[in-house]
């Protein structure tokens, strides 16, 4: 798949809550095919930010020639992006990485830890015609950190956990009761401890599981070799090129 570096204009800048926002970017001319789970590497034109910032693709619309990014304003790079306006342009390297696989299944579970919900929306949309019964499980510290679940109305049955029990079941996603159900496949995205726990859970129950990793990277196209993950065979593979989505059974946990 051809990667591009292009100046894209911001067509929409939507506030989600105090520190989360969605940027929609539009590309004129040739628009590449975008798979759920793929990501972009964005140049932040701010003197205090050196490297590009990677974000997973939250949604894409080939007809509109646009895609969107869910961003958490947490550091200099993301705060600088938050201050951008509709009509501003961003220098973006995309689409990067492999993406989730989209097989036909009866019942699948999508699991997002906090901000890990970012790529699951586009994934759910792409799975809609292939999967009978889609479930989404999201977890966060408290209710106010649960993001965008209303977008999944009509796409997936939503299950929630919060650590303070302010919404859904108390605890972590890894101990939600929905995990007692039988699933044909689990797709995850989120912080490493959650991903690891789910991968081990799936491996133990022999459920096919695809995890999306969030390793730090510089380039995004396979040359810096900074974002590596260790495989079962003790080989280091790049998250940016061979990932970010991996079959859980191929990685060393």
């Amino acid at each position: 798949m051809t990667k591009t570096v292009a100046k894209l204009s911001i067509s929409e800048h939507k506030r989600v809550n105090d520190d989360h926002f969605i940027l929609t970017l539009k590309k004129d001319g040739v628009f590449p095919e975008i798979k759920p789970g793929q990501f972009v590497n964005v140049l932040v034109e701010d003197t205090d930010v050196f490297l590009r910032r990677p974000f997973s693709i939250h949604d894409a619309d080939t007809k509109q020639q646009s895609f969107s990014l869910l961003i958490k304003a947490v550091g200099k790079g993301t705060k600088s992006l938050q201050s951008k306006k509709v009509g501003d342009t961003l220098d973006v390297l995309f689409p990067l990485g492999n993406g989730y696989s989209l097989q036909e299944n009866n019942k699948v579970l999508l699991v997002g830890g906090g901000f890990g919900i970012a790529p699951l929306y586009y994934l759910a949309k792409q799975l809609k015609d292939k999967v009978e019964d889609i479930h989404l499980l999201v977890g966060a510290r408290s209710a106010k950190h649960i993001l965008l679940t209303e977008k999944f109305d009509g796409l997936a049955t939503v299950h929630i956990t919060t650590e303070d029990e302010s919404l859904g079941e108390k605890g972590y996603v890894t101990n939600h009761s929905i995990l007692e159900d039988d699933f044909d496949k689990i797709y995850t995205c989120g912080p490493h401890p959650m991903t690891k726990a789910l991968a081990l859970y799936a491996l133990n129950r022999e459920i096919s599981c695809e995890v999306s990793l969030e390793n730090m990277m510089a380039c995004g196209y396979g040359v810096c070799l900074c974002c590596v993950a260790e495989t079962k065979t003790h080989e280091n593979v790049t998250t940016c090129l061979q990932g970010p989505v991996f079959n859980a059974k191929e990685l060393q946990w």
């Binding site: 570096v5 050196f50 510089a218 380039c219 590596v228």
Partner: protein, 304 residues
Amino acid sequence: MVNLAINLNGLILKNPVILASGTAGYGYEYDDFIDVNQLGGVSVKGTTLHNRAGNAYPRMAETPKGMLNAVGLQNKGIDYFIENIYPRLQEYDTTMILNASGSTIDDYVALCEKANELEHIPAIELNVSCPNVKEGGMAFGVSCAGVSEVVKEVRKVYHKHLMVKLSPNVTDIVEIAKAAEAEGADSLSLINTLLGMAINAETQRPVLSTITGGLSGPAIKPVALRMVWQVSNAVNIPIVGMGGIMNTTDAIEFFLAGASAIQIGTANFINPQVSIEIINGIEDYLKKYNYTDIQQIIGKLKTT
């Protein structure tokens, strides 16, 4: 018309811009972004005699105007390279340079013997300066005796262009450069990364798995320029300058300081098309000041 071609002590480059090892991949990773054939050269990923898994994650940290890396020469070894990667490289019309690294003299020699047989690779860049490998690499590069020994032994088995990549992590880089020249290096490339570290004050832990790593990017440019200037005044073989070159102006500064060619490294991560932009920028600069040949600005820093 301006001439950008460079004769680097027998190694002909169509222009003086080379992708730096460790940021170049094997060149083909850039096919989506640029026409690799327009480059002066590509110094491919550091290669060792045997497979190396490299260091554990995390391997990088962003720092002010730069980054630290601790990749640790991850590569599948020279035999894998020859069988699986080299055939692809033959399709390119640019100067492919093999960055060669080792942890013992015997490893360097065995590796370079194999590299000598590769018809489409006219040069090696002997890496005696990797800061991220515990048992070697930089150990050779930080003493005159170490550099002399490795260059002398490699010279016996490698009969094509031998470029030696120098470490900045030394007391006097000029003495090291002279030692490499005395043992038969055809050219010198400098600088490799500066040894550095990053700490996370929240976790009170180092950011890199290896604690220390190699600093690159604009943060090191003044150090690199100073070293290129000092070395170019002390040796008679050509110098390939690198260290924080982000744009045409940076590149011109290295030529003025005495570099006959330059390498683009970390800047590729920010803009994978920057190497081509710099080639075009150098041509524009030469035209603007009525030069006809890149040679006319090399080492022409005005100090009086």
